[in-house]
Amino acid sequence: MTIETVFLMVFALGSLTGAVAMFFLRHPMRVALALIGTMVSLAAIYAQLGMHVIAVFQVLVYVGAVMVFMIYAIMLLDVRDRSFTERFSPLLVAGLAGLLLLLGVLIDGLLRGQPFPAVDVPPDAFSVSTFAIVFMEQFWVYFALTAVLLLVAEIAASAVIDIRRRGQDVAAVRAERGDDHG
């Protein structure tokens, strides 16, 4: 039981605790905090596996951007309604049964796939410089493609919001004119 395995188990326990806590917590803000805990534990697992670049990006992108956005939305949308008193849909029992079934299938498949092949990994395979070089030399096409798709999605989102707002303005103006004539 090396110290690396101990670290992995500790952080795995942390992430699992976060995930299970997410399931049972009532308030969306606490669910978000539990998710942040899970994500940070996962980042620690990535760092323990030696992939520090991925660990840093996990914290930077997921916790620093995605979760900040979610917390922002939760802050502004603190609507107390049925979802607070009734956390779970009527499908709860079926869902939990499905969970156990899915877990069984996944772990069975996992145990069948053993043993995993051992490959010689050079020690600095995942350093920042290797990552950057491989990224820019071999995968820049996918990077550019992703950027274009993101731009398209962003324009679509702004267009949807603008159409909606223009729709609201038109409706407001029509309502006024209707009141004037009526």
């Binding site: 905090l33 670049v53 930077l60 916790v63 951007a65 900040v68 917390i71 802050m75 350093s127 920042v128």
Partner: protein, 385 residues
């Protein structure tokens, strides 16, 4: 393995102690510098009385920091009614921990060879042997990226604090603080990318080492000479990230009482304030590492001085290490002094001015700087090859 543990343990203790001390001293420096700038004396009432005598030590108001700390500890920890208890308790730690953790990747000295450093104790130098350690708490390859990542976590602290206070004004302050911090974080990232392009690495130790050469034969190759524009942009954006005046609208007294930490008192408020002051030191430390050559004097390397013209002065290892540690903190304090100067000279921005300053002024400037740097690096490398 034990030697690694011991050395890094010493580094961690050093880092924590120095940061706490610097945080406390900075409160005093801020007061005194503000007083000098406003042509007054400043706070000089807190004293320590030597027991069994009537000698009162005032020491130019240095004990006011101690008094503040005691006040924070001993005040009543008042908790508002019907709030989110967990988020309220956790928020100050979200703001405090990243600020302390960033120091883990900042190099505060060059190479430390403990065997030579403790040369006069024979047992110790034998035990350490030939090992050399970079004087950094965590020798990580992705140093700068970690700085950005931890900056992102601090935003969550501010927003949680304001939201969980069950107070509309705190919520408003939290929304303002969150928007401001996110916008200026983006600007900081973009200004640093030009520097990463030039140095070709995100490892802070490597960046500092590359600044110990010379440009054009006699100017020290500091980042501020390579990227002066980015240095100014970084300083402005980092101050805004830390919510110092002139960017401190989220906690402005005349507007929102205390913004997102209105409902905090005693130690939790103390954590927020302390985090803010340590953040000043961290900004100064980052600026020193990236733009001012880090822990080295001009023309100094790990072995001694290498003056222009080929003149060499070799120094013993102990002297080099102590000199590097001292020079680092001197530079950090000079930068802190400059930040305090800015704070006490400028009025604060209005909130929409603040955001349009980030998005319509600093961001385009950072992008232009990045474009010019990229073209220049490509041209110089093309000429070199």
């Amino acid at each position: 393995m034990m030697q690694d543990l011991v050395v890094h343990g010493v580094f961690i203790v050093y880092a924590v102690l120095m940061l706490m001390t610097v945080g406390l001293v900075l409160t005093w420096v801020e007061r005194k510098q503000a007083a000098i700038m406003s042509d007054r004396i400043g706070a000089n009432r807190a004293y320590l009385r030597i027991p069994f005598t009537q000698v009162k030590l005032i020491w130019w108001g240095l004990f006011h920091g101690l008094a503040d700390g005691l006040k924070m500890l001993l005040k009543e920890d008042w908790r508002p009614n019907s709030y989110d208890r967990m988020a309220y308790a956790v928020a100050p730690w979200f703001a405090f921990v990243p600020v302390m953790a960033v120091f883990a990747v900042i190099p505060f000295g060059g190479e430390l060879v403990p065997g030579t450093f403790f040369g006069w104790f024979e047992g110790t130098s034998e035990w350490f042997g030939d090992r050399s350690y970079a004087m950094q708490v965590a020798p990580l390859d992705a140093g700068l990226l970690i700085v950005f990542a931890l900056g992102g976590i601090a935003v969550i602290g501010a927003m949680l604090a304001g939201w969980s206070s069950n107070n509309k004004f705190s919520l408003l302050g939290a929304v303002r603080a969150g928007s401001q911090m996110i916008s200026y974080e983006l600007v900081i990232g973009l200004t640093i990318v030009g520097l990463i392009l030039i140095y070709g690495t995100v490892n802070l130790v490597s960046i500092v080492e590359q600044q110990s050469g010379v440009l054009f034969g006699f100017i020290p190759a500091w980042g501020i000479f390579l990227q002066p524009f980015a240095a100014i942009l970084f300083l402005v954006a980092a101050q805004a990230e830390n919510q110092r005046i002139p960017f401190d609208l989220p906690e402005a007294e005349s507007e929102l009482i205390a913004g997102y930490f209105t409902e905090y008192s005693a130690m939790k408020m103390g954590l927020f304030m302390f985090a803010e002051f340590i953040h000043i030191a961290i900004i100064a430390a980052l600026f020193t590492t990236l733009f001012l050559g880090g822990y080295n004097l001009p023309y100094m390397t790990d072995a001694g001085f290498l003056l222009p013209g080929g003149f060499e002065i070799a120094l013993p290892h102990v002297l080099v290490v102590l000199l590097q540690i001292t020079v680092f903190w001197v530079k950090v304090f000079l930068m802190c002094g400059f930040l305090i100067l800015v704070r006490w000279s400028l009025p604060r921005f209005r909130y929409d001015q603040l955001l349009s300053f980030a998005w319509r002024f600093l961001l385009p400037l950072a992008l232009i700087n990045l474009a010019i740097t990229a073209v220049a690096v490509w041209a110089i490398q093309g000429i070199g090859a």
